[in-house]
Symmetry: C2
Subunit: 472 residues, 2 copies
């Protein structure tokens, strides 16, 4: 009735789930999808359906009740209470720059259906449904390894392991190679899902500051000397959250550094195919053959199908495969076969061309809108691809303190604290534009710019007031 | 050309992969699928295709060359060399009792195709392809929780987490609850994939002997007193490898024991639906509500689709869900949606009826053949369902030493050592009949019986000879 599905809520977003749910139901009421007198599902029922805790649903209902949009009747449930005008567009819903995922409305559903058809009608279906190999579905491994060879990223001594997405690739790398005593060098700021994989095992995280041109290699070199890390994880293109890309000469220096020090280098390539302008740069793997390279279909095709991979030297892949076996035996084979077919049929490349065209439009809108709406003193990164850019608010604004004010205006982002390892900048925040339309990007940034302006003025006047004590 | 697929090789089987591959290619040659003069794929190429190490393929080729079935030509590759008669049936292939997985030739492929069709044509496809929730696909969670409630296995305070099969459920349970200092009580013998999950983290494994009626509860009670375990994992029905089932009164006692001691009880229900005779017994979860219950579609539907789950008290599931998120974000959503549809459409129940009918025929054939062919002094379990039974060879036979002799006769099994924790019985072995036809079961057991007989005689005569030293 409220027409909600679990996919519309994002557990990884900063905007808490109860608030996302509140906003969705509020929008359904204002748009007339549910009407005055309609009964909402019981909290327990909705919780199960959406994969939420019951307290999350109760909190959302409490907000709606507070706003007078629903009323609870003891023993009977919660009822909609709204006799106002209906809006036709969900104009009141939040423009969320908080989630780095592709836009659902541009999924190539028909191409997916055709691909799926071809796979399930094929003679391989029996094999796909049977228990598989921990290494992954053979034909997909073959395809990906050939592709990496053609690109010069894999050599004859390399092998491949299929994982359940990039997140599992990182998790298995930690489990196979990193214990509590080990040091790991990560970009700082960095994607929180990457940080958590290593921090929860008690590894020593060494944050290397990210500049416009990626990791600060001087600091990296000093930290290699002093801390003897076991592993370095780098996202060389359109890094999450900064959008930074490592130039070729930095890659060459990084390759020399890791080879001289014998550190394990992990190259996370999940955004590599999302380049909207400029030339593709050689992979770290092609410069340092001992590198373990991570890829995934999630950012370029369908995030709901969990298929990623690691390519690297045979002996290292053998160790990862052993670990993988006791994690979950092997990854889902139907999705592996479908994504292989999607790639081999040329549909992936065709889809990628569309994704890049749309991505370019979003990126340019975002950069233009940043220039136009964000007040002087605000700095922002200028990525050539990916899904996110990094903003630094003018002093003395704090991105975390600003957030509730921005959310009241129905715009959302992730403050820098979620990504920080040791070089925390309170004025930083991530804007993810990948899942929004150009109109939403434009409108969201106009609002953000206005709020930054107002709050900046308010804070500066408060400060100057504080700065003038009475001369008694 | 050789027509091999990764699904035909079983990495978990005792028969090593190189030997399985050798047997498959040998069979292809003898059946004329590849002919005299045909070139075999290069070892590297075949390794990638099948998800194997190159050394595995080289070892298989070496065996074939030794047997004179292929010849290697330097710089040109390996060529088939066989001008003998062709057999029409793969009579020379091994009858493997080593793998506990369903028979591929009975997969309901057409029903799977229809289910898949319905899912991909539905309006939910966009949601399915988008990033999902760590908890799992909402409608599937709802369905499984309702089912568990209807069966009395879940109460109002329970919640559910979808995992990538039962293996991941066990892995996440370990990661959330068991550290190196913790003691875990496991059945002894037990499935090696379960043992490995806990042993690799350095947990103290306490093996509780399994009798015909499951875990020895007297010993369990004593060990709870003396060792203060944190967790007990029990497979109450058709336990792998013994086939043992815990009777109701034992379940009641176990429930009282864990509740009094405050130990976390994990009930592994993956074989529960595979009961071929006798009455279904109440679950442990229904007797001890704090239990965490594991289920999976792998044994009853399609092992290649990785969907399992854990049902338990809300607070424990919340902790598992947090762990799951950093393992792989969430499980594959397409397979979740397909298996939900498979269940809701009634096709799963229909398929299960067939599986039970076929399973009963296999089980009865296996038990009859054991009675007829295995020599006096051999003991075997008499399960009422599942896929495996447990054999104890007459003294002084050793199941591990007997294996190469049995494999030469093209029969395979897993010796007891793979399942043992601390109560190792060298004469024990597992026979998995789930993937074999009644004819194969009959023929395999006839061979096994003959070899046991011959080896037993040989050993006994050797012993009596040793027992009569010269009186010089």
């Amino acid at each position: 009735m409220i027409g909600l599905s679990p996919g519309q809520l994002d557990p990884a977003a900063e905007n808490p789930l109860y608030r996302q749910l509140y906003e969705q139901i509020r929008s359904a009421i204002k748009m007339g999808s549910v009407r005055n007198g309609d009964r909402l599902p019981a909290t327990r029922e909705l919780a199960v359906e959406l994969g939420l805790n019951r307290t999350t649903v109760s909190a959302a209902y409490a907000l709606l009740e507070e706003e007078g949009l629903i009323r609870g009747e003891v023993g009977r449930g919660s009822f909609v209470q709204y006799e106002g005008e209906f809006t036709t567009a969900p104009v009141t819903s939040t423009i969320s720059f908080a989630s780095s995922r592709p836009a659902e409305d541009h999924f190539p559903i028909e191409e997916f259906r055709s691909t799926c058809q071809e796979v399930i009608q094929s003679a391989q279906v029996g094999t796909i449904l049977q228990l598989g190999s921990p290494s992954g579905y053979g034909p997909l491994r073959h395809h990906l390894l050939e592709q990496a060879r053609a690109e010069g990223s894999a050599g004859p001594e390399d092998d491949i392991l299929i994982t359940s997405g990039c997140q599992q690739a990182l998790d298995i790398l930690q489990r196979a190679f990193i214990g509590p005593a080990d040091a790991v060098q990560l970009e700082d700021p960095v994607y929180h899902g990457l940080k958590n994989v290593f921090s929860r095992v008690g590894a020593r995280l060494l944050g290397i500051p990210v500049r416009e041109s990626g990791m600060d290699l001087d600091q990296l070199a000093r930290t290699i000397e002093s801390e003897h890390p076991r592993m370095i994880v780098v996202t060389p293109e359109f890094q999450n959250p900064t959008g930074a890309t490592l130039p070729l000469e930095h890659r060459e220096r990084l390759a020399r550094l890791v080879e001289a020090a014998g550190v394990l280098l992990v190259e996370n390539c999940i955004y590599r195919e999302l380049r909207y302008e400029g030339e593709q740069i050689r992979t770290l793997k092609s410069l340092a053959p001992g590198t373990l390279q991570i890829g995934s279909f999630s950012k370029v095709a369908f995030p709901g199908l969990r298929v990623g991979w690691v390519i690297g030297p045979r002996a290292l892949i053998a160790r990862l495969t052993e670990t993988k076996q006791w994690c979950d035996l092997h990854s889902d084979q139907l999705s592996q076969a479908i994504l292989l077919r999607f790639a081999e049929s040329g549909r992936l490349e065709q889809h990628l061309r569309r994704v890049r065209t749309m991505g370019a439009a979003r990126l340019h809108t975002a950069l233009d809108a940043c220039s136009r709406y964000l007040p002087a003193g605000t700095r922002f990164s200028r990525p050539q691809g990916g899904m996110s850019l990094w903003v630094r608010l003018p002093e003395p604004l704090d991105a975390n303190e600003l957030l509730p004010r921005v959310q009241r205006e129905r715009v959302d982002y992730l403050p820098g604290k979620h990504f920080s390892i040791s070089h925390f900048d309170a004025g930083s925040l991530r804007l993810s534009f990948g899942g929004l339309s150009p109109e939403q990007i434009e409108s969201g940034l106009a609002t953000l710019g206005r709020v930054i302006n107002e709050e900046g003025k308010r804070l500066r006047s408060a400060i100057s007031f504080d700065a003038a004590p009475a001369m008694v």
